[in-house]
């Protein structure tokens, strides 16, 4: 209706940029400093992930024995900081398999962002469906769904993820699946709570009085008005998911070598923390920076979208 309204009937409908709630919300978000900082870091990480092939000087899998005169776990060599110009530059040093650590960190950004978005994406879709149906239907269906999710929630999430990976077999794909499964309950609960409050509003009753069926009311009226807290929860959840995936990889259940994944890189060099600190330091910093960006963005979104939650912390 908005699109064709200016031309309809030949009547000159006043040109008017309407302030939809989404636009007002966006304006509020842009006023949150933490959201801005989070978005800047995240934007930087996205650029790094997209242009990883261009930025990385080496292939993340290339073993440099016989190619360059470098040793296993060699310390960083940065020409600008006084490293002799005749030596090849490796700004984050060389890892335990004589590969360029910097290139591996860069390519690890792809893996980690993919991990974050895919697990949370899957968890949100399933969680939203379950939570929305539970909240809207109520009664025994609500009880059935929520008690099942309560069971999932009763286990510590990482422990449950470890169990699922142990059953399915180790590997990044199974780790992602496990992380997605263990985070479904929290999204479902957020959506259910939100749906419960929205479904009592008069505009939902009006929709029913007009003759709208359940699908129309749930997906047309209720969900669009119930997803604000979900966006906040999802953003914060991406950080947690990345951290969980790194933890699973760290203990050897997630990403398998030679894949450049930060948690796996960190885990495989953990015994060398005193002899080659750069191999633990840089992956750690990368994980921290990524998780921090999502947390800052999530906090900012929460303050902008869902002010009720602010006082909780």
């Amino acid at each position: 209706m908005t699109a064709n309204s200016s031309t309809i009937n030949g009547n000159a409908v006043k040109d008017y940029r309407s302030n939809s709630l989404w636009r007002l919300t966006l304006r509020r978000i842009l006023r949150q400093r933490s959201a801005i900082i989070g978005m800047v870091i995240l934007g930087f990480l996205l650029v790094v992930a997209i242009f990883a092939d261009v930025i990385a000087p080496y292939s993340p899998y290339q073993v440099l024995i016989g190619v360059e005169d470098v040793n296993k776990r060699q310390a960083p060599c940065i020409h600008l900081l006084g490293c002799p110009a005749d030596q090849p530059q490796h700004i984050m040093g060389i890892d335990g398999n004589v590969r360029d650590e910097f290139s591996r960190i860069i390519h690890g950004t792809r893996v980690s962002l993919f991990v974050g978005f895919s697990t949370v994406g899957v968890a949100i879709i399933i969680g939203t469906l379950l939570g929305a149906i539970a909240g809207y239907a109520g009664g025994w269906l609500d009880n059935l769904i929520m008690r099942f999710l309560d069971v999932l929630l009763a286990f510590p999430s990482l422990l449950l993820a470890i169990t699922i990976v142990s059953v399915l077999g180790k590997g990044l794909q199974n780790a992602l699946l496990a992380i997605a499964i263990v985070s479904i309950p929290s999204y479902a609960r957020v959506v259910r709570a939100s749906v419960l409050s929205v479904k009592e509003t008069a505009y939902v009753s009006a929709s029913r009085a007009l003759g709208g069926n359940h699908a129309h009311i749930l997906f047309g009226r209720i969900l669009p008005n119930a997803i604000a807290p979900l966006i906040v929860r999802g953003t914060l959840g991406i950080g947690t998911a990345i951290l969980d995936a790194a933890a699973l990889s760290f203990i050897g259940l997630g990403a398998q070598p030679p894949l450049a994944e930060w948690g796996q890189m960190l885990g495989s060099e953990r015994n060398q923390v005193f002899t080659a600190p750069h191999l633990v330091f840089y992956p750690g910093i990368a994980i921290m920076l990524t998780v921090l960006s999502f947390n800052l963005l999530g906090d900012g979104l929460r303050d902008a979208i869902d002010p009720r939650l602010r006082s909780a912390e």
Partner: protein
């Protein structure tokens, strides 16, 4: 007048409508009691007239309004619309029937989807029932918006950009776009300030004449009800205590509760000394209503038998019914 009422066609016939809300208690969430929100209400509405439904907060008038268009499930009783019981028809037939009965809600702030431009809100009914092409729908929306006093360019704006009175006009437009025969007005003006109330009431009257609408007008303000109603039903604690034409009710109220309500209407004349009938006590809880006549603990003329025998709604004068042994 009375003969005229009789010859008019009944559009709504409510018989013994009962709505209890279960109260759950204990660990097992068993039903421990019922809130008797509506307890055996019967009335009819003739085509083209406005029935006012008045009563104080919590007496069940909104529950009646919502139940009779099947927004709530009934506990028992029947509601016939054009001779068909709306509780016994199938869902696709109900969907058809919903085109003929619409509702305007009390709170204009909560009754519009905040994420939809109001043009889309008004068009919702047309979309649900697949009436006409997009272009036709849009033209219909603009037409009904004009009818309720909104401008074309309002269609692309969002609810938070409107005042309370305008939002109520939007709510009325949304209800009328399907061309219904019957409109439930659930306290449509009680959230508005007085000058806007008058505008909306006059709009409703004008629309009724133009479109031949039948109204059920729920309100707690007797002045508003007097302005708009043809007949008035007074509710007390889930029951109708008196129902008659507006003239009769305001001229000669029969039930002691109605008399007390009437004496509470302020008169804009400081010199006129009015005899104020003040009822003792509070409205009893609908969880456990009094025995016999529900009004007897507060009634100035109650006698011993009022405590045991529940008075039926009976004809006291032609076209004037009251539920009191001594009216």
């Amino acid at each position: 007048m009375i003969a005229e009422v009789i010859t008019k066609r009944n559009i709504i016939e409510v018989k013994n409508l009962v709505k209890y809300y279960p109260v759950l208690g204990g660990v097992l969430k068993r039903v421990v009691a019922h809130v008797r929100a509506v307890d055996g209400v019967s009335f009819n509405i003739n085509q083209g007239e406005t029935l006012g439904l008045v009563g104080e907060s919590g007496c069940g008038k909104s529950t009646v309004a919502h139940t009779m268009i099947r927004l709530l499930k009934k506990t028992s009783g029947t509601v016939e619309f054009d001779g068909k019981d709306i509780f016994s028809i199938k869902s696709d037939e109900l969907k058809q029937m919903r085109q003929n009965m619409q509702i305007v809600f009390q709170d204009p702030y909560a009754s519009l989807d905040p994420r939809l431009p109001i043009g889309d809100s008004i068009a919702e009914g047309l979309k649900i029932h697949h009436l006409g092409t997009k272009q036709q729908q849009f033209e219909q929306v603009l037409a009904i918006m004009k009818k309720v006093g909104l401008e074309d360019y309002h269609a692309v704006r969002y609810p938070h950009e409107f005042s309370g009175g305008q939002r109520q006009r939007i709510g009325i437009a949304r209800a009328l776009v399907l061309n219904p025969k019957f409109l439930v007005l659930d306290e449509p003006v009680s959230a508005l300030d007085v000058s806007v109330q008058a505008q909306v009431l006059n709009l409703l009257k004008q629309l009724q004449q133009e479109m031949g609408l039948t109204y059920l007008f729920v309100a707690h303000n007797l002045g508003v009800v007097e302005h708009i109603s043809d007949r008035v039903a007074v509710m007390y604690l889930g029951k109708i205590v008196e129902i008659t034409s507006r003239e009769q009710l305001f001229l000669k109220p029969m039930h002691p509760y109605t008399q007390a309500l009437m004496s509470a209407i302020p008169v804009a004349n400081p010199k006129l000394k009015k005899e104020r009938l003040i009822l003792p006590g509070d409205v009893p809880s609908p969880l456990n209503p009094p025995s016999g006549c529900r009004f007897h603990p507060r009634c100035p003329i109650a006698r011993e038998d009022c405590k045991q025998v529940e008075p039926e709604l009976r004809d006291i004068l032609p076209g004037h019914q009251a539920a009191c042994h001594y009216a």
